[in-house]
């Protein structure tokens, strides 16, 4: 390869040398280049500089490992997507993103208390709830009816559900109502209510079930989220959140107080 010193700094030639070092040069060209480098100190220096850079990159810029929580999120989202469940979408992206970044809080009422008493079934339900929660965090999935007015949200469910879910705004206590939507949990359509807590999200899913009230919520921790579960005389609830457990229990108490004819259990 006959190159003058000036040519060797030409970007085209550097690219050739890079391709050679990357093993991307055809064998014939590579041999020619090797022969040239052997008798050209300038090209040898160039090669050495690139080798140093390559060593530095491999030593100091890491390949990242996908966090376990992300892996689970992806799997749950894929499963949800595959199940063909597609709640109506309404433009919520603008407000959704900053809220979702900080993560969220979900109240879910579902299933029967008896079912929840069975460990395995309870686990499956918790998975279902968590999948719904995760799906709601995706853009456009949080609310079908976007309103902070409980008197707008509650009537919206009329005709869409075979029950009229209790809807309350807790803005005064720091948990403003964001809206509502329909979701699908454990084989049936449930009501879902979204609340906010600072930059966190709250989703409420609920459906009626005539069982004995459970009183204090039971707690599960899963993939960095807390899941609270309890029943009233009319409804069964699950609460999912990565919010602090204390705040989550505070919120659950608010819901219990307004939503149950019985005094709050805690």
């Amino acid at each position: 390869m006959k190159r003058s010193g000036r040519d060797m700094t030409h970007p085209g030639f550097e690219a050739q040398l890079d391709a050679y070092l990357d093993g991307e040069l055809a064998a014939g060209d590579a041999h020619e280049l090797e022969a040239h480098i052997a008798q050209c100190p300038e090209c040898a220096r160039f090669r050495d500089g690139r080798l140093e850079l390559r060593a530095a990159i491999s030593a100091r810029t890491p390949a990242f490992q996908a966090p376990d929580a992300l892996r689970e999120r992806v799997r749950a989202a894929l499963r949800t997507e595959t199940r063909g469940r597609a709640p109506r979408r309404l433009g919520w992206q603008g407000v959704w993103r900053p809220l979702a970044l900080a993560a969220s809080l979900v109240v879910v009422a579902l299933g029967s208390w008896n079912l929840a008493l069975e460990r395995a079934a309870g686990r499956a339900l918790a998975d279902d709830v968590l999948a719904s929660h995760i799906r709601s965090l995706m853009p456009g999935h949080l609310t079908d009816v976007l309103s902070s007015d409980q008197h707008t949200v509650k009537p919206w469910f009329n005709g869409r559900l075979d029950f009229s879910p209790p809807v309350y705004d807790f803005a005064a206590q720091g948990y403003p109502l964001l809206g509502g939507r329909l979701d699908y949990v454990d084989g049936r359509t449930v009501a879902a209510l979204a609340y906010g807590r600072r930059k966190h999200l709250i989703n409420v899913f609920l459906w009626p079930v005539a069982r004995r009230p459970s009183g204090a919520p039971t707690t599960r921790d899963r993939q960095g989220y807390h899941l609270l579960h309890w029943t009233t005389t009319d409804y069964t609830y699950w609460v999912v959140s990565d919010l602090g457990r204390e705040e989550l229990h505070d919120f659950a108490r608010l819901v219990q107080q307004v939503d149950s004819p019985q005094p709050a259990a805690r």
């Binding site: 550097e14 040398l17 850079l53 810029t61 390949a63 990242f64 992300l70």
Partner: protein, 167 residues
């Protein structure tokens, strides 16, 4: 899509989640956004899985990385011009944790400050170990362009390192 199709999809795609996350991390320069991009990309990939299986000569990894790349660029555009405008503005970066080895941060920072089309070829070649052909598939450019971008990106990184070594 039935459950066996999902199983096939997961078997093809999930092994490359680390690679997907790494590319997303370097393109978004932010762990939270990278997670959003990866999740979004996986759902897009699921949607287009049929078209991928019909295609010959593309590895599942390169295919997924192409979707991650496009998702990251879409994410960038959604953020408006801000992300692009601040490309070379150091002050826009959130404070990095103090590192015992200060030179580690210098190289990482130099990489962060490269324009995305240069940053991505470095990541795909040096960290993911893709061939020029695969990088071309991911970035949607001819192999010749991959070659020249890679060379220019390396020259810029070396310049950046030389500058920081000066007293």
């Amino acid at each position: 899509m039935d459950s066996s199709a999902l199983t096939r999809f997961e078997a093809a795609v999930l092994p490359h989640l680390d690679a997907a996350y790494t590319l997303a991390r370097y393109l978004t320069r932010n762990a939270h956004d990278a997670e959003d991009v990866v999740q979004d990309a996986c759902l897009r990939a699921l949607k287009y899985f049929d078209s991928f299986r019909g295609e010959e000569g593309t590895s599942a990894r390169a295919w997924l990385l192409a979707i991650v790349r496009n998702t990251a660029y879409t994410w960038r555009r959604r953020r408006g011009g801000a992300a692009l405008a601040t490309e070379f503005d150091e002050t826009q970066h959130s404070p990095v944790e103090v590192d015992d080895r200060p030179d580690k941060e210098l190289l990482a920072r130099a990489l962060d400050r490269l324009a995305p089309e240069f940053r991505e070829v470095i990541v795909l070649r040096e960290i993911e170990g893709l061939s020029y052909k695969e990088i071309g598939d991911v970035a949607g450019v001819p192999v010749g362009t991959v070659m020249s971008r890679l060379s220019r990106a390396r020259a810029r990184l070396q310049e950046a390192l030389r500058e920081t070594e000066r007293p």
